[in-house]
Every structure is written in structure tokens, then in C-alpha cells.
């Protein structure tokens, strides 16, 4: 369409030639005629360019204009480096935090699973709201009932987790977490092998050969992706199995196991309890929707079958528990624990962004007031409102673009922190990386901020002539601007307060938990897992007990060991279900009263001495408490006080009331009362616990060693002692009780850490905001301060005045934040079950921190105000 250069040149040459010809015909000299024609034509290049301009598309002009504006913006921002840097860093923090949280949310909640047709996968669980169980899994008879009666689920897969001793694959004997699956599991889950094959229908049942699949993580990390692993034989507990393949990388759900084996590898799965006891629940159930079926139809059908099943077997479902069936998409099931926490984090990140934006708005507003003169000159020279806005937009685009760029750089470490944090709630967080979606989020936020910011400053209005300010370039601060500045600063304080109070609450909880008295000497006690050869079966076997006792004796003889005890669980690390119902002499529950429950514990003599738990009355167990002697028990202080208010617990009898112990009542004489040890809760609660001696029950293989010096220094010696007695006995997870408890606390610590991080960022931004507002307000009121000094104010007065302004902003912000936070918590209770309002201490602490920060932030501007030179100030306008 556009004529090329030659054509344009020819047209212009033609014009000149015609003009020259006419002049010559009129009688002019050829040379003079040529000169006159050229003169008449004017600027050749300019004409050619404006002709070409006709054919340029409109956006080209716009882009050129924008580029010009941006060059101009960069130049003018370079003149205010401090302010520009503050804005960029502030925005970077806000954008980086949001981008990071968003990538984690995308990775954990939104991304599809690798499983084939993953949206057809469902997860089925039983809940018992009556006894507070959210997932009580299934027993084999239940699974069989559901499998046989539900047509809208085309196939079911089952998975249960067991601890098996693994020998082979070039490592010491050790206990691994293993999944045990039926033949349909991998087909239902829609997973593929990266090596060899997966388990299928041929591997199902009690007559198949033992076969195991390695998970990708285990294979790639522990075995260095060894390609020759397929076909190797490993020993799993008492059986052996062949490694048939390696699973592709996938979300390990329901458990992060190292191997997944077929049923024959687990003797327990072949036993009668597993297959006939309807209440023996340890299987998790997955389903693949039949073609045409929806989650809703499957849910309806499964629920109907389940209800019928519960009715047919009332003995296995107590009415109090009110067992129900839940069906969710697998993806939602995996994501659900992380959902709430991620949404809370997103809210925190959004708050930081709001704070960042309002801070930046503040700085830009202050700057635009300073440059009202410049804008007025430009308006006077003919720049329209649009052009001025475009200048401002270009400037905020430069600022926000730079901020977004820096923010994206920050996003990488942020994602690492947040993903590690979220991994506690969803395994999927481990795979989260910074992806391109972050770019879009960053760019979106930056553009939103830029457009917002460009509309913050007022333009010189055509009605009010700005002539006065033009020449002097003085700063004229209007009440309106001032109010807006303060409003932004107050907003920042209010939002920071909410975050600070929240972080304070988490910190207070953490400190309370960390410093809580546990009643146990944690620093000097080393806990070691020494699982009996199989999986805890045969725990009462005299040989097994003898082995553990002999091991304990030999360890006790090591130098630096003050005592050794056997127990069934390591405090805070191991779990042994809820308390068990028991009865005692001379106590009959009133009608309708719940029978008492106590924790069932099996310990060796010297257990209480090793832990440092005081023996309050009676005696400790001794080696004479054997199976063939009188059955005895020791109760915790709380049991003694609740059931024997008269303090006569000793020599009375107690007995467990549970099928687990058989139908016959076996009374045990209470021979001792010991201090409470809460080995389940981090913060000690009154604990009902009843202990019986190892020799009368059996061992589960936990060893407690009390050290005189550094407990960890004993680990090699302990390992040598065990190796000396048996080559196959695993020795695992040595740790002091102190470290075990700290490990349990680490999610709380991470919670507090992440939230404090957000609160810290918010506080930093708010301090910059308050300082900025006051500094600006002081510099704009130099004259006012001069007048005040002239009429007799002292510099100290002015100092106090500015400080109190800072304090007032903070106070109003805190009040607004407290009110807003309270309302927010009220709204949140409607959506989340657990919403805690922070106590007085964190709230007061947050307020104190903010007031202090505001005062510190006002110090510099206040000092400047008090140092105003009277004469200069009065002359300044």
C-alpha cells in the first residue's frame, strides 16, 4: 500500500521539475528557477517522512510515543533514585510473595495428576464423626462388600501400609514403609512403569510369587537409578520377593512408601484377622468411575450400599460413632489438607501486596505533589490530560516493571520456603517449581499496580490556574493530599497490625509449647527403634523378650550409660490408638457415665528412672514380675487421683475391658503410682496411663538409653552391641527425646516462621510508609515550622509534635486493624472450623511493636523539623 522510497522521490522530483519548467517558461534563469523551486518546496526530508507517516499504523505511533515516555520516565526517575529504589523493592516484595504463593497453589491444588484420566479417579473413606475419626479406612470384608455391589465404579484398588524389614538392595537390614496392594491397584490408578512392569492380577492372591515395585523416589535417590535392579530378589520380613519394576514419578498417596508389594509378601495380609475381622481396618480404597458415571452417582450408590452393609453388621459399627461414607475425587482428597493453609497464606500475601501498593501510592502521591509545578508547565505548553496521564503511566510502568522483575527473582527462594512448608500438608508441594505462570501473575499484578498508581496523583486542573507554583517550584500541600497520604499510611499500619497479631499468636503458641514442662528428662535420653524381626507379631515370645533384655543389659554396661529401659513406644513419635476402657476395684460408673479409658503401656523395670519420672507411691517393676508370677500394674498419678480419691490405689486391682485382651477378665494388682507423662501431646495434659511389665506382655522394640554425656556419642556403640548379637536386627532412628519433640513441633515452627516473615515484610513496608509521609509533610511545612519557631515554639515542641503525628497515624491504624481483624475472624469462622482469635499478649505486643516502629520512623523527620532555620524558612516562599 505504501509507495516505496523511490516512488516518493520520483513524485517529489517530478513536482520540482514541473515547478522549475514553469519558472523557466516565465523567463527566470534556470539556476535561479531551480533554487526558487526548492525554496518554495520547503524541507524535502520532512515532507517525505510525513507522507510515510500517513501509511504507518496507529499503534506504531502509540508505541513510539510510549517508548519516548518511558525513556523520559527513566531519566526523571534516575533523579529521585532513593524513592525509585524504595518503590521497586516494596513492589518486589509484594509481587514476589504473591507469585510464590500462587505457584504453590497451582502446583498443589490445580495441576492435574499424572495418572491416566485422573479426573475419573475417586478416593473412598469411612468417617465416624461420633468419635472424631475423619478417616478410619476399611477392613477387607467391607472392601469386598463394596466391590461386589457398586456398578458405577468400574474398578477398585486397595492399598495398605505396613512396616516390613527389608534385607537386600545393598543396605543394612532396616525397616521400610511398604505399600501392600491387590492386583487391581495400578490398573485403577492408571500408572505406568519406567522400568520392568507393575503388579497386576497375576500377582494377586495368596498363591502368587512375592513381587515388589520400587517407587521412583526410592529408586532414583537411594539406588542411584540402578537400571539392573529389575529381577533382583529382596527379603521382606520372613518372605522373599522379586523386584519386578519401577513406578513412574507420581504423587505417593496415601503413603510415601519405598516399595509397593503384593499381598503374599505380608504374612499379616494372609492372616485370618485381616481377612475376616470386619473391624480390622487398615486398607485404603480407590475407585475408577465407570463410563458415564459421575462422582455424584458413584457417591449415591456407594452410600446406599454402605448403609445397607452397616445395617447388616451392627456389631461392627457402634451407633455412637455414626460411621459414614465419603467419596471425593482423588485430586481433591490429596489437596484438601493443604487447601485451608494455602488460602490463608494467599490472604497473607494479598495483604502484603495491598500494603506494598498503598506504600507505593504514598510515595508517588508525595512525588506528584512535588512536581505539580512541572506538570503545570507541561499542561501550559499544550500537553493534554491524556498526555500527562501517559507520562505518569509510563513512570509507574517503569517502576512496577522493575518491581515485578525483582519480585520474580525473589519468587524462587520464596517458592522454596513455601513449598517446603506446604509439603507438610500435601506431598505434591515437593514438586512445585517456579513456572511460567508466575510470570503472568507477576506481570498482571505489576500492570494492575501501575494503572492504579497512575491515577493516584491529581493533574493540574484547567479551572484552577497553577501559575503561582510554576516559577518557585515550591511544594504546596493541600489538605486533600495530606488526608490521602495519611489514609494510605494508616491502611498500611492497619494491615500490618493484622499480620503482626496473627504472627504473634503463632509465636506465643510455639513458645508455650516449646517451654512447656513435659515431666520427662528429655535431654539425656536417647530413643532407638529396634523392631522385632517380623512386624511385631510374636512380641510375647520368651526368646524375643530375652533378646531385647540381653541387648539392654549389654548396652547398660557401656561406659557413659546411666540406665537402659525397654518400652513399647517412643514419646511423641509413636502412636498407639486411643485409650482402652478399664475397670478397677471399688469403682462402678454411675448410670450413663462413660467407663474410664487409659493408655495401655508396656515397660521394663527402670523405665521411670531412665525418664526421670518420680515414683510417687509403691514400687517399680522388677525382674521378678514374670508371666508366672502375680500380674501387676503401675498407674499414673491422674488415674490414682480420679479413681481412688481417698489415695488408696496401691494393692487394688484393675483390668482391661476390650476384646483385644480376650473375653476373660484378667485382674492386675496396682503396685505403684508414678508422675504423669503425656507421651502423646506436646503440651502436657493430665494423662491416664496404666503400665504393665514387659515380661508379662511382650516387647515391641523401643529402647531408651539414659546417657551421662552426649547421648549421640553412644549411637555407634549401641549399634555394635546389637550387631554383635544379631546380623539381621535393624537399629533405627536414634534421637534424643528433646530432638524428637522438636521434630514434632517443626510444623508449628514453620507456621510461625512463614507468618512472621510476612509480618516482618509488612512491618518494614509500613515503617517506610510512615517515615515517608512524615518526611514529606515536614519538608512541605518548613515555612509553618519557621513561623512557629519565630513566635516562640521551642525545637523540642516541634519534635514532640511530629512524633505525636507519627504516633497518631499508628494508633488510628491499630484501632482500624483491630476492628477489621476481629470482623475478619468472625467472617472466617463461617468458612473454617478452626479460627482462633489471638490472646491479649500477642495483640498488645503487635500494637507495641507498631507504635515503637512508628515513633522510630518519625524520629528522622521530627529531628529535621526541630532543626529548621527560622530565617531560611520564612524566606522560602
Amino acid at each position: 500500500m505504501c509507495p516505496d522510497n523511490d516512488e516518493l522521490d520520483e513524485e517529489i522530483r517530478g513536482h520540482l521539475a514541473i515547478s522549475v519548467n514553469q519558472r523557466i517558461e516565465r523567463g527566470e534563469e534556470p539556476a535561479a528557477a531551480r533554487l526558487a523551486a526548492l525554496k518554495e518546496f520547503g524541507n524535502l526530508t520532512l515532507t517525505r517522512e510525513s507522507i510515510q507517516g500517513v501509511y504507518r499504523p496507529r499503534w506504531f505511533d502509540a508505541a513510539e510515543g510510549l517508548a519516548r515516555d518511558i525513556r523520559f520516565a527513566v531519566r526523571s526517575l534516575l533523579r529521585v533514585k532513593g524513592m525509585a529504589a524504595t518503590v521497586i523493592v516494596t513492589l518486589a516484595l509484594g509481587i514476589g510473595a504473591n507469585a510464590a504463593i500462587f505457584s504453590v497453589i497451582r502446583g498443589v491444588l490445580l495441576r492435574p495428576l499424572v495418572n491416566r484420566d485422573e479426573d475419573r479417579l475417586i478416593y473412598i473413606r469411612q468417617t465416624a464423626p461420633g468419635i472424631g475419626a475423619t478417616n478410619m479406612t476399611f477392613s477387607v470384608p467391607e472392601v469386598n462388600d463394596l466391590k461386589s455391589r457398586v456398578p458405577s465404579v468400574s474398578a477398585f484398588g486397595d492399598f495398605s501400609t505396613v512396616d516390613l524389614r527389608l534385607i537386600g538392595l545393598g543396605s543394612e537390614p532396616r525397616i521400610v514403609k511398604a505399600g501392600v496392594v491387590g492386583g487391581s491397584f495400578f490398573e485403577v490408578m492408571g500408572l505406568r512403569p519406567v522400568l520392568g512392569r507393575l503388579l497386576d492380577a497375576h500377582d494377586d492372591g495368596p498363591d502368587a510369587e512375592g513381587a515388589a515395585v520400587l517407587t521412583y523416589r526410592f529408586w532414583s535417590i537411594s539406588l542411584n537409578s540402578d537400571p539392573t535392579v529389575v529381577g533382583k530378589t529382596i527379603r521382606l520380613g520372613p518372605r522373599s520377593a522379586t523386584v519386578v519394576g519401577v513406578l513412574e514419578p507420581s504423587v505417593p498417596y496415601p503413603a510415601d512408601t519405598e516399595i509397593i508389594a503384593n499381598i503374599v509378601t505380608s504374612p499379616h495380609h494372609l492372616g485370618a484377622t485381616m481377612n475376616t475381622n470386619r473391624a480390622h481396618r487398615m486398607t485404603e480404597l480407590f475407585g475408577r468411575l465407570a463410563p458415564g458415571a459421575s462422582v455424584e452417582s458413584a457417591r449415591a450408590e456407594l452410600s446406599a450400599v454402605h448403609t445397607a452393609m452397616v445395617r447388616e453388621h451392627p456389631e461392627s459399627y457402634s451407633t455412637k460413632a455414626s460411621v459414614q461414607l465419603r467419596v471425593t475425587k482423588l485430586r481433591d482428597q490429596i489437596a484438601s489438607p493443604a487447601r485451608t493453609i494455602l488460602i490463608v497464606l494467599l490472604a497473607a500475601a494479598a495483604v502484603v501486596f495491598v500494603i506494598a501498593c498503598s506504600n507505593v501510592a504514598n510515595l508517588i502521591l508525595a512525588r506528584s505533589v512535588r512536581r505539580e509545578g512541572e506538570l503545570a508547565v507541561r499542561a501550559a505548553l499544550g500537553a493534554g490530560t491524556g498526555a500527562l496521564r501517559r507520562t505518569l503511566l509510563a513512570e509507574s510502568l517503569v517502576l512496577c516493571g522493575a518491581g515485578a522483575l525483582l519480585g520474580l527473582l525473589l519468587a524462587r527462594p520464596f517458592v522454596a520456603v513455601v513449598a517446603r512448608y506446604a509439603a507438610r500438608f500435601s506431598i505434591r508441594a515437593l514438586e512445585v517449581t517456579v513456572d511460567s505462570s508466575v510470570l503472568w501473575v507477576g506481570a498482571g499484578l505489576a500492570i494492575a499496580a501501575a494503572v492504579l498508581l497512575a491515577y493516584v496523583p491529581r493533574l493540574p486542573s484547567p479551572q484552577a490556574p497553577a501559575g503561582l507554583g510554576l516559577a518557585t517550584g515550591g511544594v504546596r500541600i493541600t489538605p486533600g493530599t495530606n488526608r490521602r497520604l495519611r489514609m494510605f499510611a494508616t491502611t498500611q499500619i492497619a494491615f500490618s497490625f493484622v499480620l503482626l497479631a496473627g504472627a504473634g499468636m503463632l509465636l506465643a503458641t510455639l513458645v508455650a509449647m516449646q517451654t512447656a514442662n513435659t515431666g520427662v528428662d528429655m535431654r539425656h535420653v536417647l530413643a532407638v527403634d529396634m523392631p522385632p524381626a517380623a512386624t511385631g507379631f510374636g512380641m510375647g515370645d520368651a526368646n524375643v523378650i530375652g533378646f531385647h533384655e540381653e541387648t539392654g543389659r549389654r548396652i547398660a554396661q557401656l561406659p557413659g550409660v546411666d540406665g537402659v529401659a525397654l518400652t513399647m513406644l517412643v514419646p511423641w513419635r509413636d502412636r498407639f490408638g486411643p485409650g482402652i476402657v478399664f475397670g478397677v476395684d471399688g469403682y462402678t460408673p454411675v448410670d450413663g457415665e462413660e467407663r474410664p479409658r487409659a493408655r495401655f503401656r508396656v515397660v521394663s523395670p527402670r523405665y521411670f528412672a531412665v525418664l526421670g519420672v518420680p515414683l510417687i507411691a509403691g514400687r517399680d517393676f522388677t525382674d521378678e514380675d514374670r508371666r508366672d508370677s502375680e500380674l501387676v500394674a503401675i498407674v499414673s498419678q491422674t488415674v490414682a487421683q480420679r479413681l481412688f480419691p481417698n489415695g488408696d490405689a496401691l494393692n487394688r486391682h484393675m483390668w482391661w475391658i476390650d476384646d483385644y485382651f480376650g473375653k476373660v477378665v484378667v485382674p492386675r494388682r496396682i503396685v505403684g503410682v508414678v508422675g504423669d507423662v503425656d507421651d502423646e501431646n506436646i503440651v502436657r495434659a493430665p494423662a491416664m496411663a496404666i503400665y504393665q511389665p514387659v515380661r508379662q506382655i511382650g516387647v515391641v522394640g523401643r529402647l531408651l538409653v539414659r546417657a551421662a554425656g552426649d547421648p549421640y556419642a553412644l549411637v555407634p556403640a549401641v549399634r555394635r552391641v546389637v550387631r554383635g548379637m544379631s546380623a539381621d536386627q535393624p537399629v533405627e532412628r536414634p534421637a534424643t527425646l528433646e530432638d524428637i519433640r522438636a521434630e514434632v513441633l517443626s510444623p508449628d515452627r514453620l507456621n510461625a516462621f512463614v507468618f512472621s516473615g510476612f509480618a516482618g515484610i509488612a512491618l518494614l513496608i509500613a515503617v517506610v510508609g510512615v517515615a515517608g509521609v512524615l518526611a514529606f509533610s515536614v519538608s512541605a511545612r518548613t515555612r509553618e515550622f519557621g513561623v512557629r519557631l519565630a513566635v516562640g515554639s521551642t525545637p523540642r515542641h516541634l519534635l514532640a509534635r511530629v512524633l505525636s503525628e507519627g504516633g497518631r497515624i499508628a494508633a488510628i491504624g491499630i484501632a482500624a486493624g483491630a476492628a477489621g481483624g476481629y470482623l475478619l475472624a468472625r467472617v472466617a469462622t463461617k468458612f473454617f472450623t478452626q479460627v482462633e482469635l489471638p490472646g491479649m499478649v500477642p495483640v498488645a505486643g503487635a500494637a507495641a511493636v507498631l507504635i515503637a516502629a512508628a515513633v522510630v520512623a518519625s524520629l528522622m523527620p521530627a529531628a529535621r523539623a526541630s532543626r529548621v532555620d527560622v530565617l531560611q524558612a520564612l524566606r522560602s516562599e
Binding site: E11, G14, H15, I18, N21, G42, T47, S50, Y55
Partner: protein, 119 residues
Amino acid sequence: MAKHSDDQRLELLQGTLDMLLLRTLQWGPRHGHGIGQTIRAQSDDLLRVETGSLYPALHRLVKRGWLKAEWGVSEANQRARFYQLTAAGKAQLSRERDRWSQLVDAIGRVMNPARASEE
């Protein structure tokens, strides 16, 4: 030579150049130099179109489809680009002519209220 000195010459009213160009081409194709001369001659030398405005305007009208351009040879045997009205250009000319007479009429009423009311 020139019938009028420079300060007697009139500034073109904004927006009227297109109309003048279309009108000038009503009598047939012309090249750029010829168009400028015609406007000058017909306005008794009161209106002069600078080449810096004339050529961009011509190209703009071509782009809009109101004119079309073809290479030809001038009376002095010089190769030149000849501009010609299209059908759309003719329609545009009559629209602009109407708007122009309305404008003149309106301005006339404002400037000479007495005469307007007599009519």
C-alpha cells in the same frame, strides 16, 4: 508578481484542506503541483497550500479510498503521479460541501445577526 503580500494571504481553516483537494479534482485527474496551483489560482492567490501539507494530505486521501493515483506524463513531458476522484471520493466531497455551507451559514448568522433576521 504575487497579487498579495504575505500578511494578506489567508491561513487555511483546519479541516478544509481535504475538501479543497477533492473539489479541485472534480474536473479530472491532476498531479500534485497542478493541484497546488489550481487552489492558488482559484483563490486569487489568497490560499497557498504548502507542499509539506499537500502531499501527506493527498496520500491520506488515497489511503482512505477517496482518491486513486496513477503514474502519467505531464504537459511538459515529465513523469508525475496523477490523482483522481473515486466514487467514494465524490460522495465524500458532497458531504463535506454540505457541512461547509452549514458552517458558513451558521457563522454568518452569528456574525451578522441583523441581516440574518431580515431574511
